[in-house]
Symmetry: C2
């Protein structure tokens, strides 16, 4: 065939270097990384399976062979979606042989997956797949259009049925790409639905930063370096205008537009948002999930959203709900604030389900929490 005549030098130049495989998942679930760098003095790998020193990620030296290829093999790794970077002579960058990348705020990591156990929920299995759309909606409360990611379950398009909706909120520095990429939401939902463990549901992943129309690179602001903190993320504006999102979804999708058909959950800042949105609209959600929530017991920011906290929380309790779920890792830096919040709920007699996991403020936990929370919805 004609395209066979592409010279091999062209293929090498255009579509990657020599045929180095990295990472290679070995049969025993160790993982070998390789990088060709004959002129580098020092090559390290930094992976999220390595012990951290406080906030500093762990790293390990790679070893150079006579051909200039550096390698590193891990110990046996448990099933999980892992991320890593390569550090070439002090520069933390990506593995040129691994095209699978995820951005988290302003950092880009390579990823790989060790299958088995919980991690099989993160794989694309041979099951029916939902549709994932990026869609713009009008937000009159913010006087602009904004972008969301929306998962509709397998069969949605060919059904006349009405589906329940989970609103799933990201953390600080995240956006409408966070849950679908880092959270593996589409894979988790496809798999749980196929296994009969979760009801078919729509999952709406909005952008929780009202200062943004869309994720970095996806709005008229163009390409810029993302930052962790943006104005108006935790000042009540998002919560107060959340009805724009609910209205859009309920007008544009075949949904169960009642309390029994609505759930809201979020991680970190999104847990804070979920707490306040479910309280501010106190008879709207039958299911609330706070994943490592960034509880703010004494906000400096004044907003009518945060006024009458205790009274509206009590109102939410009195109105009734089916599930108020709180999950946090034992090592999370927010642990003590969540503990205080639980004491407050205990004191007022507000029922909740509490899940304490290992680990800290990390996506590994949020994927687990999503996998455990969604089977409890809409039953």
């Amino acid at each position: 065939m004609l395209l066979m005549s592409f010279p091999s030098i062209a293929q090498q130049a255009l579509w990657g270097g020599p045929n180095i495989v990295s990472p290679e998942i070995n049969k025993d679930h160790t993982v070998t990384f390789r990088i060709q760098a004959p002129d580098a003095k020092d090559v390290k790998i930094s992976g999220d399976w390595m012990p951290r020193q406080g906030w500093i990620p762990g790293s390990a030296d790679m070893t150079k062979d006579t051909a200039g290829i550096w390698t590193y093999t891990t110990d046996v790794l448990s099933p999980e979606l892992y991320s890593y970077n390569i550090i070439i002579d002090g520069v933390k960058t990506t593995d040129p042989n691994n095209v699978y990348l995820i951005r988290d705020v302003a950092s880009v990591f390579n990823i790989f997956l060790i299958d088995g156990g919980q991690a099989d929920l993160y794989k694309i299995n041979d099951v029916p797949h939902g549709t994932v759309a990026r869609r713009w909606y009008n937000s009159p409360g913010n006087n602009t259009t904004r972008r969301m990611t929306i998962y509709t379950p397998p069969g949605y398009e060919n059904s006349k049925e009405k589906f329940p909706v989970l609103y799933l909120l990201h953390g600080m520095g995240g956006d409408e790409e966070a849950w679908i990429a880092l959270g593996r939401t589409a894979q988790i939902m496809d798999n749980l639905i196929a296994q009969g463990k979760a009801k078919p549901m729509i999952v709406v992943m909005p952008n929780g930063n009202v200062a943004q129309q869309a994720a970095p690179g996806e709005s008229p602001k163009g390409f810029y370096k993302p930052t962790m903190q943006l104005p108006h993320t935790m000042d009540g504006q998002y919560e107060a205008t959340f009805k724009d999102i609910i209205n859009f979804v309920e007008k544009n999708y075949r949904v169960k537009a009642d309390k029994a058909g609505r759930a809201i959950a979020g991680l970190s800042m999104g847990g804070f948002h979920s707490l306040h949105i479910s309280r501010y609209y106190p008879n709207t959600f039958d299911y609330v999930g706070l994943f490592s929530p960034a509880i703010m017991p004494d906000p400096k920011v004044k907003s009518e959203v945060y006024d009458n906290f205790d009274a509206t929380l009590k109102k939410q309790m009195e109105n009734g709900y089916k599930l108020y779920w709180i999950g946090i890792g034992k090592e999370d830096f927010l642990y003590k604030y969540v503990k205080e919040y639980r004491e407050k709920l205990d004191a007022m007699g507000m029922p909740y389900v509490y899940r304490e996991s290992d680990g800290g403020h990390i996506w590994k936990n949020w994927r687990i929490y999503l996998s455990e929370f969604t089977p409890k919805l809409f039953n």
Copy 2:
């Protein structure tokens, strides 16, 4: 606020290094790149605006300052979407300060955009935006489910109107992510529609490799190193089963399901596919676009799809169509085959529009061709 208490070391460790901006688009449309690499001996940049030596990409040395930051500033660049890599001590990798990345087969590039002129079509402007969905469909002809990317124009969901459809096919090594990422299809369509230059239309971007269910990383095959060549890409199977895609789209979307409402176009291998699909289904498409098509005048592969080439092409001509559009760059390695094909069309009296551009077999040209082709459709 609580999350303000994230120590700055944590932010630096978790979400990127010191605040280096790279690339910086200067006011005069030169571009400055920066990378902190005090321990590197040699840092280069390789960008697609640099002259190539044959297939070998150009590169230039970056210069180190006393703080260990390497910089490089380009000459004035014309408006365009550009791609580049950083080469650290001989290792071609990505710029750690630029989170905007695109994969092309097995390579990952950083991107940036110089606005103005044609490139303004590639920007996300403040115009109504269509919806981009990744959706799975059943392909009985391939006995499997497969993934496609589908663009529905602004207003599609809130209309009762039927829309015409452009089937837009990728090249060898590409997949259903190629046109939407490298081709900026959603941006081009949003902008042309907003300017009244293109009719609102649905754009279907299927996966043209029947050996794949979906793009690398998006199928049960998991994460693996993508390759340029796959079995069954140019052996007739895709063309013969293309009706599965048309059937799916016409059953599941509000479309004009007639010849006047169908266009097909593709680049390189996708141009080859478009040529053969439009001929094999000779009364199906009123609009055909061959972008740098990989014409295969004497296929070694035997398939009933390629039988009776001349007779079915003549049949297509006799059935009539509104546009048969061929575009190619003067430096394209396929130029001579396209010239031969045009001579064949001339000899048989088959009308076509011919567009010859500068440059070679590159995405810059395919974005231009898409921008010029779509305004000619469905008028």
